[in-house]
């Protein structure tokens, strides 16, 4: 079989280049957009993904980790009673007001009160041990490197949170918050910063470690709904993280924005690609008509056009993968929050391939001009 589609693509590459570039850039835009959105909104769940806890217990119906309300402190006992639970620790969330030493006005901060011991679960992945140990000093807090300017402080400076004096003992990285600034403190310090009297003897979350993380779904199911300890619910870390991210993506309208942009990118890409492929078909229409005169069926000719569309898509995808990998590497090097999983990548690339296929179908329609009778003039 003579590889007509591929040979034409190679020989007349200039003609097909716009289509390949269109598919490639559509793919690149989809990939970067997805990576940015997932990266930015992924930080909504940094409290969960940066920690090593397998289960989270919190107020029923909590839609995002930053919206937690306090639950009865006795829930900790309920969790500890389960034979599969190996460790439980509280996580104290305080919405607070920050006043720095320099003139920055009030800044809304989220104080995370965590167990500062070396084997603590909270922020086990996000805070190095040496930094963690410094939280044991009284009134010590850690802020993210990226927030220093907003807070108007440097390491060693003091500031005031909810009327209490605190001291910045270190800076973390990768703990940026959405809609505010993260401040990490020990449980004891956080308790002094919590000015709400109704929170006495209550805790925002309890985080549990399991003997076998694979059991998380089963253990969560049997722990939830015990009315003896007031209202609380138990989620796996994975579910809770996903719920928090989805809440932000949907609540801010970013999800709709992404879909809208994806649609525009798809449309523009499809228009350019289909026009290029149509031009390629029309450019060879006399040759196709000759083949048809010689008895090569229209179906076989359509296959040639679709094969060309497929190769245009494949080359475009290779281009967008390479450029996307480079762009993501640059973004990571510059602390831009980007995150891209294999599934998202696959969906983006699949979208581009379907763009090429749709364009191929459009180009196939112009094959009706390949009527051999028109050659006899």
């Amino acid at each position: 079989m003579v590889a007509l589609a591929r040979k034409t693509l190679v020989y007349e590459w200039r003609r097909f280049l716009p289509a390949i570039v269109a598919v490639g850039f559509s793919g690149l835009l989809q990939l970067l957009q997805a990576a940015l959105v997932l990266g930015i909104f992924g930080s909504a769940a940094v409290y969960i993904t940066g920690s090593s806890g397998d289960l989270w217990a919190g107020y029923p119906g909590t839609q995002s980790v930053n919206l937690g309300r306090s639950i009865d402190a006795g829930v900790e006992m309920r969790l500890r009673m389960d034979p599969d639970v190996t460790a439980v620790e509280p996580f104290h969330w305080v919405d607070a007001d920050w006043r720095g030493p320099s003139d920055t006005g009030g800044v809304s901060v989220f104080v995370s009160g965590i167990n500062a011991r070396p084997d603590g679960l909270m922020f086990a992945h996000a805070l190095p041990l040496s930094l963690r140990a410094r939280l044991n000093e009284p009134d010590a807090v850690i802020v993210d490197r990226a927030d220093l300017e907003n807070l108007g402080v440097g390491v060693g400076d003091t500031a005031v949170i909810n009327g209490h004096r605190v001291r910045v003992v270190g800076v973390s990285s990768g703990l940026r918050a959405l809609g505010g600034v993260n401040v990490v403190a020990s449980l004891a310090t956080a308790a002094t910063l919590d000015t709400d009297p109704s929170n006495a003897n209550r805790m925002t979350y309890f985080v549990a470690k399991l003997r076998d993380p694979a059991l998380a779904t089963d253990v969560a199911a049997r722990l939830r709904g015990d009315r003896a300890f007031g209202s609380y619910d138990v989620w796996t870390a994975r579910d809770f993280a996903r719920r928090s991210q989805l809440y932000w993506i949907l609540d801010t309208g970013a999800g709709a924005g992404v879909l809208f942009l994806a649609g525009i990118v798809f449309l523009v890409g499809a228009v350019i690609t289909s026009q290029t492929l149509i031009a390629a078909v029309i450019g060879s229409v006399r040759e196709y008509a000759t083949l048809n005169a010689l008895g090569v069926g229209v179906g076989a000719l359509r296959k040639v056009v679709m094969e060309q569309a497929f190769w245009v898509g494949a080359l475009g995808l290779i281009g967008s993968s390479v450029l996307g990998a480079i762009a993501l590497a640059i973004a990571r090097a510059r602390n831009v929050p980007v995150s891209l999983g294999p599934w998202t990548t696959a969906v983006c690339l699949l979208l581009c391939m379907s763009l090429a296929i749709v364009s191929g179908l459009a180009a196939m329609r112009s094959l009706h001009r390949a009527d051999p009778a028109t050659l006899l003039r």
């Binding site: 079989m1 003579v2 007509l4 040979k7 034409t8 190679v10 020989y11 007349e12 060879s284 006399r286 040759e287 008509a289 000759t290 083949l291 048809n292 005169a293 010689l294 008895g295 090569v296 069926g297 229209v298 076989a300 051999p372 009778a373 050659l375 006899l376 003039r377």
Partner: protein
């Protein structure tokens, strides 16, 4: 009319392979109704090069399109190799063309990306031949038109005459019973035109193929076994050119 008996005597009892019976064809463009073929009947014999000549617009290309199954007549019937083309549907007609007909057009219509060998192999691969057999037949066909040494070249590296010879090889490689040529020499100079018409003539004689050529090129008249002169959708004369002007 010159003596048809002499041509019959010189060739071994040619059989009729292509028949048209009372075919008419007209086109309408808006209110204008234009009849191109008027109730036309003719028989074409195998093993002969038949030339249909006439001024442009006389309907000769439409006649070729109908006889070759590329277009349907408004009325009348076409029987090619014993098959009534009017009774075949689109797919069956394509199948018939694939198995039995070859075409050579005025424009060579070669794919710029393929070399001569691939141009000829391409339609063969749809015949269901093995790649080895397709290649062998393509090579033999190119050898026959004298392009053996140049079969690795692309159209951009071939002269006009060579391109038309590739187109002939492409039609010939299928070993068709019917070979249709539409103005095959119009785009070529005298020497190349001569080569092309000689090849077509040789194919008719050597393979027993029915070669039907449409042309207004007067240089071809002397090389045909039979010349049909057409004007205004009718055949005016049907003659055998004098042997003195025919090539050997």
């Amino acid at each position: 009319m010159s003596q048809p008996m002499s041509s019959l005597a010189s060739s071994p009892a040619p059989s009729i392979s292509l028949q048209a019976r009372n075919i008419s064809k007209s086109f309408s463009t808006g209110p204008i109704h234009n009849t191109v073929l008027h109730d036309l009947t003719l028989d074409i014999r195998a093993g002969e090069l038949t030339l249909i000549s006439g001024p442009s617009g006389c309907g000769k290309s439409t006649l070729l399109a109908i006889l070759s199954g590329l277009q349907r007549a408004d009325s009348g019937e076409v029987v090619a190799l014993g098959e009534d083309l009017g009774k075949l549907n689109q797919r069956a007609l394509e199948r018939f063309r694939l198995l039995h007909t070859g075409f050579v057009f005025q424009g060579f219509n070669l794919f710029p990306a393929l070399n001569a060998l691939e141009q000829v192999e391409l339609p063969l691969s749809y015949l269901g031949l093995t790649p080895g057999e397709a290649r062998r037949r393509a090579q033999a066909s190119l050898e026959e038109v004298g392009l053996g040494p140049r079969m690795g070249l692309r159209p951009s590296e071939l002269s006009g005459g060579e391109k038309q010879r590739v187109a002939i090889a492409r039609a010939l490689a299928k070993d068709p019973g019917l070979l249709f040529a539409d103005e095959p020499t119009s785009a070529l100079d005298a020497a190349n035109g001569q080569i092309i018409i000689d090849i077509l003539h040789r194919i008719a004689r050597g393979h027993g193929t029915t070669v039907l050529c449409v042309s207004h090129d007067p240089r071809l008249v002397g090389h045909a076994d039979r010349v049909l002169a057409m004007e205004d959708g009718r055949i005016l004369s049907d003659r055998v050119p004098t042997p003195a002007s025919a090539p050997t």
